[in-house]
């Protein structure tokens, strides 16, 4: 099965392993990830204002490009996923935005960017299936206690992202179970790492991140997984006592393609 793939900037630089392990795992699972030829940076955060159009256009281009290829669009980085999916939703629900984007891009935005946006986790859950994934695991991560760190961008706004229950998600825990490890449930898993304020208020960001890994450690985690390079960066900068890795690394390990 072929999906269009939007890697995003950071996966080409500081988070190469998030990308590389995903590609290897996808191959092992019989999924073809066809990287969009002409993708541009999503901007990192979604601009929520209704009168802002320019920052949304790169997402629109990605949506149109995937639609032209006739594929669903797979994302890996939480931030890219959030931005692209929310842009699509805004065009769907805001007439003014749809009109302005159509006018600027000289297209019918609602029709031409009507592409299904799928996060890699959703692909594992809905296309591969966690039961199937479990069967394909060659190195089960038995005995490892792994804390899923969702952060904000995959979950919220819940109504738009439709990823999982934003207050009590389970998709990453189900993923961890499929790999043979034990998920660690802790209350801070859907709290913010501090995000972009790390650029000028690094202390504040560290305080947020510290609360998260302390909570995970307190409940006995020996590893944390994330899909977001910025979350990982903030946790590491806050001197996380629990190792933080990308979820694709664990996946590749379990599938024997690391």
């Amino acid at each position: 099965m072929t999906f269009s793939y939007y890697p995003g900037c950071t996966l080409k630089t500081k988070a190469k392993e998030l990308d590389a392990y995903a590609r290897r795992s996808a191959e092992a699972l019989g999924i073809t990830l066809a990287e969009l030829p002409d993708w541009q940076c999503c901007g990192g955060v979604y601009n929520n204002t209704k009168d802002e159009i320019a920052t949304k256009l790169s997402s629109v281009r990605a949506l149109i490009s995937a639609k032209e290829q006739g594929n669903k669009l797979v994302t890996l980085c939480s931030a890219c996923h959030n931005v692209i999916k929310r842009t699509k939703n805004e065009i769907e629900t805001n007439d003014d935005m749809a009109f302005r984007v159509s006018n600027y891009m000289q297209c019918d935005a609602r029709k031409d960017s009507d592409t299904e946006v799928v996060h890699f986790f959703e692909l594992l859950r809905d296309t591969v299936g966690f039961d199937e994934l479990k069967k394909k695991v060659v190195n089960p991560l038995t005995g490892r206690k792994i804390a899923a760190y969702y952060g904000c961008l995959l979950l919220r706004p819940g109504k738009v992202l439709q990823f999982d229950n934003p207050e009590n998600p389970k998709i990453m825990e189900d993923f961890i179970r499929a790999l043979g490890a034990t998920p660690v449930i802790y209350p801070m898993r859907n709290e913010c790492c501090g995000g972009y304020i790390a650029i000028e208020s690094s202390e504040a960001a560290r305080k947020n991140s510290a609360a998260i890994y302390e909570s995970a450690e307190g409940f006995g985690a020996d590893c944390m997984i994330t899909a977001c390079p910025l979350c990982r960066y903030n946790l590491i900068k806050a001197e996380s006592t629990v190792p933080v890795v990308y979820f694709t690394e664990l996946l590749a390990e379990a599938l024997g393609v690391k």
Partner: protein
């Protein structure tokens, strides 16, 4: 020749403010058949009615049209007025130029034009009206009360007290409802069971009251005064006539890991059980989901130990048919499920409980014998945080838009009881507003603050985080100090919104009683007929109609009983003469009308008809029982041959109305 009178009401400025009433009266005066047309400030006043009466006499009117408010308000008034002047009361038509015109329009010109059209339409109809006479139907002197909580109990007791038979149907094995689960009541702090159980016993002992516990209403047919109801008595697997309620079976049953639903699953009971010591009827019930004998035929211990020989594993559901003159709905409420509020960690931590669960935790018959202990480790909690409005006043998909009304008071009660019994326990209450209208209610809440040192915090909890050491970290805002508080609590109590019981919606369908979007039963009038459903003969008692505390519920229960007694005391009911009838010459016997009739009023009979060639032929034709027909008109629409017609709303009249509108 018709002589029609038209009477246009100003209703003060209600109508006259937006409708030029003089112009309406003048325009309608020119309609064919109209011999008199006038306007007056208040047509429903005595002077207004006299104006109508005089006009009927002076002009020999054969029909009248009153352009005024909704017929739900004053149709009955004007029918009586007409009758008093010697005109058949069904020769009156109302044109609603208030609710359907003046109140919804702003432009005088537009509203006036519409009022004239509405008046014209009523004139076209009244010209084709025929005098009708209401017949009488007898009233079955027996009432059905659905729901055996405090609402149903009070209603049943009051109806029985007036000398009428009452059947009380309760879906659980015992009557008592939510009040039986409550520990203490506000604002007096007296024990709920101590005031409830005497009423339960009264029900059991009253010869006029028949309790159908562990039973549900299966179907309802008929109409006011003559309802025909099927009650399903669910199999208890215990013979009610033999069981003495000794409880030996519950002690000996080996299936001790059955969740105790009376204690909201906070502890376990046996598979055969009596919900609580004062249960009425005190008869054991087998929980078929957990009984080993019923599941795989192994065990049979209860049967062996029962000295009365009451156990019957082969018992089947029983169906009972009964006639009633009136039905009272008292189906009550439940706290909402908190699955959509995971930020409060209700599903994640056993120490986060609902307020109703706290009642059981504090009750002497509860899981800890009345000592308040944390469910997780059975230790004494030193810090307890209460969160108000969990799911109430919530306009998202998760919650309820209304105020649940009882939470402010029961939370003050809980806080006070805890501080009284455990002075070393700190109690915090996060609130949006404290709402305490009611006799001695605000004083009660103030006592919690002033005398018991409960910390009330104006703000809301944003998240409850279970900690590795078992504590609950509560993060919430204090809007008055403008701080975000972080409280390490041992327990968190959530004041969950209340919602109508899930059985209410299907019951409403059976009863053809209307409900609002929140599944509360709608009253016939929100102010003036608060305990009656718009469906005749259906009455409302307790929270099924809207959130209420116990005193209000009891007051409403007695009010509903008074209305039932008023109905049952009537020797007969005047029936609606606007019923359907079939033209046998046109009827083709297709049964369409019979299928759509919601009241079962139509049957088919074989009838002999004389044919033109002097032979006879037997044909199958529809026949309407006018005593059962409610005049809904469904059959007239369904009939393909136009044989079915409705008195007072004939096809000819409806078409005349449509013509008048389109003219």
């Amino acid at each position: 020749m018709q002589k029609i009178g038209v009477f246009v009401c100003h209703c003060g400025t209600n109508i006259a403010g937006t409708v030029d009433v003089k112009a309406v009266a003048e325009a309608l005066g020119k309609e064919p058949g109209v011999v008199f047309s006038t306007e007056y400030q208040y047509m429903c006043s005595e002077a207004g009615q006299n104006l109508i009466k005089d006009a009927i006499k002076n002009y020999g009117l054969t029909g009248i049209v009153v352009c005024s408010c909704s017929p739900r308000m004053h149709e009955a008034t004007f029918r009586k007025t007409a009758a008093a002047a010697g005109l058949n009361s069904y020769m009156v038509e109302i044109a609603n130029i208030r609710e359907q015109c003046s109140w919804i329009h702003k432009d005088v010109k537009v509203a006036t034009e519409k009022a004239i059209v509405l008046g014209r339409t009523a004139i076209a109809k009244v010209a084709l009206n025929t005098p009708l006479t209401a017949s009488e139907t007898p009233v079955v002197k027996r009432a059905l009360v659905i729901g055996g909580g405090i609402a149903g109990i009070q209603t049943a007791l009051d109806i029985a007290d007036a000398g009428y038979e009452v059947d009380l149907v309760e879906k659980e094995p015992t009557i008592g409802g939510k009040m039986a689960q409550i520990d203490k009541t506000f604002p007096t702090l007296d024990c709920a069971a101590c005031i409830l159980t005497p009423k339960m016993v009264d029900c059991a002992q009253n010869e006029k009251i028949h309790i159908y516990a562990y039973s549900e209403v299966e179907s309802v047919k008929g109409f006011v005064g003559n309802f025909n109801v099927t009650i399903k008595k669910k199999a208890r697997f215990v013979d009610e006539t033999k069981c003495t309620g000794c409880g030996i079976c519950t002690e000996k049953c080996p299936m001790k890991k059955t969740p105790n639903l009376f204690n909201l699953g906070l502890d376990n009971r046996s598979a055969i059980y009596i919900p609580f010591a004062q249960a009425i009827p005190k008869i054991a019930t087998i929980d078929a989901d957990y009984c080993n004998m019923l599941k795989n035929g192994k065990c049979g211990v209860c049967s062996k130990v029962c000295a009365a020989g009451a156990i019957d594993y082969k018992q089947q559901d029983q169906y009972i048919e009964q006639q009633y003159g009136a039905i009272v709905v008292a189906t009550g409420f439940n706290p909402i499920k908190l699955d959509n509020y995971s930020e409060f960690a209700y599903n994640e931590s056993p120490d986060v409980v609902t307020s109703l669960e706290l009642e059981r935790l504090m009750n002497a018959a509860g899981p800890n014998g009345g000592t308040l202990l944390r469910p997780s480790d059975k230790t004494h909690p030193h810090t307890i945080v209460f969160v108000q409005c969990v799911g109430s006043r919530d306009t998202t998909d998760c919650g309820k838009p209304y105020c649940s009304k009882i939470c402010c008071m029961y939370t003050a009660k809980h806080a006070m009881l805890i501080r009284d019994k455990y002075p070393d326990t700190e109690v915090y209450v996060f609130y949006m507003d404290v709402r305490t209208p009611g006799k001695n209610f605000d004083e009660f809440y103030r006592r919690a603050v002033e005398d018991y040192g409960v910390h009330y915090i104006k703000g809301m909890v944003g998240k409850v985080m279970p900690q590795p050491d078992g504590k609950l970290l509560v993060r919430g805002s204090d809007l008055l100090t403008d701080e975000q508080l972080k409280i390490e609590a041992d327990m968190v109590v959530l004041a969950a919104a209340i919602e109508p019981d899930k059985t209410a919606r299907p019951l409403a369908t059976m009863l053809t009683a209307s409900m609002d979007t929140n599944d509360f039963f709608t009253e016939a009038h929100p102010k003036l007929r608060p305990v009656e459903s718009p469906t005749a003969g259906i009455f409302l008692s307790g929270v099924c109609q809207g959130p209420k505390d116990i005193p209000e519920t009891v007051a409403q229960a007695s009010a509903a009983a008074a209305k039932v007694i008023g109905l049952l005391a009537k020797p007969a009911l005047k029936s609606n003469p606007c019923t359907a009838h079939s033209d046998e010459n046109l009827c083709n016997g297709c049964s369409s009308c019979e299928r759509v009739c919601p009241y079962g009023a139509i049957s088919y009979v074989d009838k002999e008809f004389r044919m033109p060639d002097r032979t006879t032929k037997v044909r199958r034709v529809a026949s309407v029982n006018p005593a059962v027909c409610q005049g809904c008109g469904a059959c007239t629409v369904a009939c393909p041959s136009g044989a079915m017609d409705l008195s007072g709303f004939s096809n000819k009249q409806i078409m005349a109305e449509v013509d008048a509108i389109c003219r």
